[in-house]
């Protein structure tokens, strides 16, 4: 680990002003940042500790729910308002990491967690995300965990979050604050595809602090579902996941949100799948068409071809469960 200076912020104002030097990083739960600092993948000169900020409430806000950026993943996952009105978010959070990590990790930190691409974490290999312009060792390497959607010639790293995928499907709005003021960003617009700048992962500007996330009330949200497929029963990142939210009218889909995880470089909203669903009758053919539309642009690597079909099936499963046309088999997985 490299030496760094450490500041503890008491207020949001203190936090954003302390974060003004270049390269300063906020630290909350530390579940990503401390790990990456130990590996020297991240070498921030300044850490601004925001754990004392009064931003951990989960409360009704208008018709929706407001979740503080410092709320712990476990507290959000088990909050009655979330469980009842935004089930996909509760399911996504509970499927992430382990109880111990969820007790530490915060909502803001989860949005900013870094990829688990093994090449990103290994200083001996080239990584454009870690060192812009260095090249991407993952392309042509061992690519089982990598993305098939939203990749570029510079990066194929998968975005690791479960929570962020659910937030995209729930039309969440992320509120941020800096010394110059506040702004709101739609969850679907928050993360950026790598393109030629894999080191840039969100639209956050330097020094901006996530303060809270708003979940708007919608008829779709209550019928939302998160399905995660992984290599073991717990404590594993998604090979594929799907968050869906649907509104039904007369046996047809009136409106829908579809987001995929584990297969894309960012939490992946699929407007193509949404368009394929709206106005169509509930049923496996409709779901399959939507799944085909969602993966139409997939560009697999050598070791992750299976993810294309797996993501389709995962989305079909999520749609079946969300619309009530499919029920979980006794003892079944997801």
């Amino acid at each position: 680990m490299r030496p760094f200076s450490y500041v503890r912020a008491r207020t949001v104002e203190q936090a954003v002003s302390a974060a003004s030097p270049t390269g300063a990083q906020f630290v909350a739960g530390g579940t990503t940042l401390v790990d990456l600092m130990r590996l020297e993948v991240m070498r921030p000169p300044v850490l601004v500790d925001i754990t004392a900020l009064p931003l951990d409430a989960v409360e009704a806000h208008g018709d929706g729910v407001r979740v503080g950026a410092m709320a712990r993943n476990s507290d959000v996952a088990h909050h009655p308002l979330i469980e009842r009105r935004f089930p996909a978010l509760a399911q996504a959070l509970r499927s992430g990491a382990s109880p111990q990590v969820r007790n530490m990790a915060t909502v803001g930190g989860n949005l900013l967690q870094r990829t688990r691409c093994p090449y990103f974490r290994d200083l001996a290999t080239a990584c454009n995300k870690r060192e812009p312009g260095a090249g991407c060792a993952a392309i042509g390497g061992y690519t089982r965990s990598h993305a098939v959607l939203g990749t570029s010639d510079h990066c194929i790293a998968t975005h690791p979050s479960d929570m962020a995928v659910a937030l995209v499907a729930l039309d969440a709005v992320i509120h941020v604050r800096s010394v110059t003021g506040s702004r709101a960003i739609a969850a679907a617009d928050f993360h950026t595809a790598p393109g030629g700048r894999p080191d840039v992962e969100t639209v956050l500007r330097p020094g901006e602090l996530i303060t809270h996330v708003d979940l708007p009330a919608s008829p779709m949200a209550a019928r939302s579902r998160y399905v995660k497929v992984r290599d073991r029963a717990s404590f594993a990142f998604a090979l594929a996941s799907a968050a869906v939210a649907v509104e039904l009218r007369d046996g047809a889909i009136a409106s829908a949100r579809v987001a995929l995880g584990g297969v894309a470089t960012r939490p992946w909203r699929s407007r193509e799948a949404e368009q394929a669903l709206v106005g169509q009758p509930v049923g496996p053919e409709t779901f399959r068409r939507a799944a085909d539309a969602a993966l139409a642009a997939a560009r697999p690597q050598r070791d992750n071809r299976f993810k294309v079909e797996l993501a389709r099936r995962t989305l079909v499963r999520a749609l079946g469960l969300a619309t009530g046309s499919d029920r979980v088999a006794r003892g079944g997985a997801p």
Binding site: G141, D231, T314, A329
Partner: protein, 740 residues
């Protein structure tokens, strides 16, 4: 556990671990926990490339960093021998200890930074930079099979090739044939406690090491050799080990580097291997490609078995995964041929991994047996019974004992095997496919020379010592039980100490032979102590046993007894005027034992549930039935069987050290990417044991239980997956992409 009659006494009782409380309260001092005054910290810097030479190193920034005491590289490290001497043990490896500029595998040590704190040593390590002339590296045997060569052995005491009968004729006579290739991946042990060493020099000629190892005497011997000392100038101490599984079976480079660093900085040095380094510095289970051919008559009787193994080793050393060795003796087939070949790669040297050879080899053989059962339309248990080996067909010797038929019977009964419908995909629960599979388990019951001493003190307490290790298996506990019984004392007055080369020499804790080897030595040392007390008593006219023969004297409740008379140990000791009485015993293999093959057996039954569309495999039920001689402690033995099976679940479904196809460098470098089972992956595991009274295997009748649990387990699960899905996965691990 078995309900059959148990002898009275502590042995055979499910008593709690005597070290359990210390472990769960954090009082147990593992190697890195030992408080050593003035200790400095060392961090290893490793190579990014797999093959080539170091052309330059820049350590100036590291040397200047705060708190740094030394930076060792090949340019300034003391000259020491990296290869083991002529009396090398099976586990002694060629080390990579900064002796030259050659790079022979990725993550090879290229520097060691020593500083006054761990953080400062880590910081300095990050400041070391090096340039390399890198050569092309090979990391997969699959594309290099042409370079396969015949190794010297197929493991300790095993020839690389074997042949009996005429396999070609057996194949021609067969009505059913299976010929298939099975592969197992590189697996990395990953004990919870990483390797750690604290090296303390007293002057230039005395070295004390606190080392997390499965073999303190092996460490002593090698370190003495490296630093040109006599063995008794090196002391190795190791009271607790947080798992070994083979990767702590011999001293690796970090042990020498710690001692080297301590000598250079003239301070004690602590070196803890990082989790990332666990994938390269301390061995792994090598990848294997195994071709199995089986021929059988229509009634299932095997007419031919062929098992050809290719495994990887490093460019600079040799380790052989003896995957076909069990095939030589598992079934009563007259025509059997096996071969082992190795391919050299630019990777670290593999090593023994829980049930070396057997875990990988039984996956192939027992999968092939399942394929044969399907081809013949014979129940998999019936097929195995049909080919039961009533004596060791390879050595042509009787078994010292064998209860495999009983394992099949009781395991099948507990599992409900008779309710299985054999057709693949015929058992399901909604969208979940259910599969039942089984396999045979087997592991050799070995015994090595060992020694122990027992000492009784005036208060009647007994101290027993042996230079063995407790690698988490329960050695402290079972040795206490054995000693207590041998001396007819309650376990509470017996204290067993281990993990110090000042104690009588004991072998490695490996090969499932600790209970048999050191358990026998402990028993014999305690009997020798009893004998000494008896000799004191009969010579003492104040003893009620005066002038009896020691041979007539028995022990009961802390006293010597004969003819209705008794003389408590404490009275004998008090009257003798000696402060304590001590006896030491060194065991050797008995000639009688060599007339038999000593082997443990078992039967594994697995149930899997698989999501039809998504392919996720979940274990839902497991029954393991084992016959491993006398079960010394049903509680700790059960934990060993379960632990082996959990390892089998990992091997079957998850574990895989992936390498970059271009650089041979490990890509899975931590426990996020290298999956082992979490609790949610492990179903209820039902363990049955079949008691055996085996007078030949060793003094205590135990065959060892540390490794048999994993054997056959991978095949039982793979066979269950086939039964559930109809898909025969011959390449481990069975991840869901292979089932979509």
């Amino acid at each position: 556990m078995s309900q059959s009659s148990r002898p009275r006494g502590a042995v055979g009782q499910p008593i709690d671990r005597v070290d359990g409380r210390a472990k769960v309260t954090g009082q147990a001092t593992y190697a890195a926990d030992v408080a050593v005054a003035h200790v400095a910290h060392a961090v290893i810097v490793t190579s990014p490339v797999s093959r080539g030479r170091i052309t330059s190193m820049d350590v100036a920034a590291a040397r200047r960093a705060p708190g740094v005491l030394a930076v060792l590289t090949h340019e300034n490290a003391p000259e020491v021998p990296a290869a083991p001497g002529e009396e090398k043990g099976a586990g002694d490896r060629v080390l990579q200890i900064l002796q030259d500029d050659r790079i022979v595998h990725a993550d090879q040590p290229i520097a060691v930074c020593v500083a006054d704190t761990l953080e400062r040593a880590q910081h300095a390590a990050g400041l070391v930079s090096a340039r390399f002339a890198a050569g092309p590296a090979r990391g997969a045997i699959d594309t290099d099979l042409g370079s396969a060569y015949v190794p010297k052995t197929a493991g300790p005491g095993q020839k690389p090739d074997s042949s009996r009968g005429d396999v070609a004729a057996g194949m021609r006579a067969a009505r059913a044939r299976v010929e298939a290739t099975y592969t197992t991946p590189v697996e990395t042990h990953n004990p919870m406690e990483p390797h750690a060493t604290i090296a303390v020099w007293q002057g230039d000629d005395r070295l004390t090491l606190y080392d997390s190892t499965q073999g303190i005497f092996g460490v002593r011997k090698r370190l003495a050799e490296v630093f040109k000392l006599e063995p008794d100038q090196v002391r190795v101490i190791n009271h607790f080990v947080g798992g070994g599984f083979g990767c702590k079976g011999s001293p690796w480079s970090h042990v020498v580097l710690a001692a080297m660093a301590a000598r250079v900085v003239r301070r004690p040095v602590k070196l803890v291997v990082t989790r990332q380094q666990m994938f390269s510095l301390v061995g792994h289970r090598p990848r294997t490609i195994q071709k199995v051919a089986l021929g059988a008559r229509a009634d299932g009787v095997l007419t031919a078995v062929r098992h050809d193994v290719v495994a990887e080793t490093s460019r600079f050393d040799e380790f052989v995964e003896g995957s076909a060795t069990t095939t030589r003796l598992l079934y009563a087939c007259p025509n059997v041929a096996t071969t082992h070949r190795l391919v050299r790669l630019d990777v670290p040297t593999p090593t023994f991994t829980r049930a070396p050879g057997v875990a990988s080899g039984t996956f192939a053989l027992e999968s092939a047996m399942d394929e044969l059962a399907y081809q013949l339309g014979i129940d998999p248990v019936a097929l195995r019974l049909k080919n039961h080996a009533d004596r060791d067909p390879d050595a042509d010797k009787p078994w010292s004992s064998k209860s495999l038929r009983e394992c099949y019977r009781r395991g099948a009964e507990r599992f409900g095997w008779s309710r299985r419908t054999p057709t693949p995909r015929s058992m399901h629960d909604g969208r979940v496919l259910i599969g039942w599979g089984m396999a045979t388990a087997s592991y050799p019951a070995k015994q090595m020379p060992s020694s122990a001493r027992a000492r009784i003190r005036p208060d009647g307490s007994v101290l027993v010592q042996s230079g063995t290790q407790d690698i988490g298996t329960g050695t402290y506990t079972i040795m206490t039980q054995i000693a207590a019984d041998a001396l007819a004392l309650p376990t509470g007055v017996v204290r067993f100490e281990l993990g110090d080369t000042m104690f009588p020499e004991a072998p490695l804790s490996a090969g499932s032979f600790t209970a048999s080897s050191t358990g026998s030595a402990v028993k014999m040392a305690c009997l020798a102590l009893r004998r000494k007390l008896a000799e004191l008593a009969v010579a003492d006219r104040r003893s009620p046993l005066h002038e009896l023969s020691p041979d007539q004297i028995d022990a009961r409740d802390g006293a010597l007894v004969a003819r209705g008379r008794r003389d408590p140990y404490v009275d004998i000791l008090r009257r003798s005027g000696q402060p304590e009485v001590e006896a030491e015993f060194k065991t050797e293999e008995k000639a009688e034992r060599k007339k038999y093959t000593t082997q443990a057996f078992g039967a594994q039954f697995a149930e899997v549930r698989i999501d039809r569309e998504l392919g996720q495999v979940r274990m839902s039920r497991y029954v393991g039935a084992f016959a491993a001689g006398r079960i010394l402690n049903p509680k700790t033995a059960r934990s060993q069987f379960i632990g082996g099976i959990v390892w089998g679940i990992g091997q079957a479904l998850q574990e895989h050290t992936a390498r970059d196809p271009r650089t041979a460098r490990a890509v899975t470098r931590d426990l996020v990417d290298y999956h082992v089972p979490v609790h949610a992956d492990v179903p209820d595991i039902d363990i049955l044991t079949v008691d055996e009274d085996d007078p030949y295997v060793n003094e205590i009748g135990a065959k060892g239980v540390g490794e048999i649990g994993i054997t056959g387990c991978g095949a039982a699960i793979a066979n269950a997956v086939h039964h559930a899905t109809g898909v025969r996965v011959r390449d481990l691990p069975i991840t869901l992409d292979k089932l979509l």
